[in-house]
Subunit: 154 residues, 2 copies
Amino acid sequence: MSTPNELHDRMREWIEVLVGRSMRDLILYLKQHDLSMAQYGTLMRIFHQGSCAVMQVGSHLGITNAAASQMVDKLVQQGLLERSEAEHDRRMKQLSLTEKGRELVQRAYEARLGWLEQLADALPPERRAAATELMAELAHLAQRLDQPPAAPEG
Amino acid sequence: MSTPNELHDRMREWIEVLVGRSMRDLILYLKQHDLSMAQYGTLMRIFHQGSCAVMQVGSHLGITNAAASQMVDKLVQQGLLERSEAEHDRRMKQLSLTEKGRELVQRAYEARLGWLEQLADALPPERRAAATELMAELAHLAQRLDQPPAAPEG
DNA sequence: CTATTTAGTTAAGAGCACGTAACTATATCA
DNA sequence: TGATATAGTTACGTGCTCTTAACTAAATAG
C-alpha cells in the first residue's frame, strides 16, 4: 500500500510513538538543567537558525517582548547565549549560542534520543540501507519545508 | 552506506529536524488550551498507556506525589481526565482519559503534525511505498522497545 | 532638527506549579 | 488486634514566568 493517505498515517503513527517516547526524557532532562521548555525551545531554534533577534524569540513562543527579553537575559547569565548588536540596525540584538549553549543542545539530543540507537539496531539488517537513505531524504525535505520564504498565517 | 552508525546518524538528523519543527507548534498549541507541558505529557502518556496511577504521573515527570495529585486534579476539573478506584487496591486511583481528553490529544497531534502531510507529498512517488512500510515497521519496533514486559537490562 | 516608530530593557505585581508537611484511607505484617 | 507501609489529598509558602507600564536608544518621516 503506497497511497498518499497510507503514508500520512504511517508517518503520523511513527511520530506519535517517537514524541510520546521522548517527551518524558525531555522534561526530566530540562529539570536537571534548570531550563524551562520555552528556554529550551529558544536555544534549539537558535541552534538551527544560527542567530535570532529578541522579538523573534517572543513571537515564536507567543509571549511579550518584555518576557522574551527577561528570558534571554537569564540564558545569557547562564552563559548559554550571547547578545551582540546587529550590524545594519543597532536597535536589534543578535542572539547566538555560546559554546556551552551548543553543547547543551547537543547533549539534550543525546539524552533524549539515545534509545534511537536501540531502535536502529532492532531493525533487520536488510532494511538498514533503505532506512538510512530514506531518513536522510526526509530530513533534507523537511528542512526545506521548514524555511518557506514568506508564508503568512491566518 | 548502511553501517549501523550511518543509520543512527540519519535517524538522529531526521528526528532533530522533526522535533525542532514541532516544538514551536506544540508550545503555542498548549498556550491556547491552557495546558502546561507536564499536563500534556501526562495526557499523552495515558492516551498511549490506557490508564495510570497518580504516583506514576509524578515519577514520570520527576515531581512529588503531592504535585502530581494537584496536577491531576486540575485535569479532572477541566474534564480531560477521570479518576476511578483500582479494582485490586482501593488506595490507588485509575486515571483514564475522558472523551474530551482523547479528542484534545488527537487534535494536538493534528495541529503539530499537519506539516507532515506536506512532507509526505514532497517525497518522490517512487519512494512512498518503501517509506510507508518503513514507517510502520519503525513505529511497531519503537512501541515494543517502549514497553519491555520484564526484560532485565545489563 | 523634531516627532514618531521600532527594538529592547527594567520594575512591579499577578498567577501558577512545585515542595514540605500534615492528614485520611487502604493494605499488609506481626 | 495493633503497628507500619503505601496511595492519595490538602494546606501553605516559595519561586518562576508572565503581563502591563514606563523607560532608553536607534532608525525614520516630516
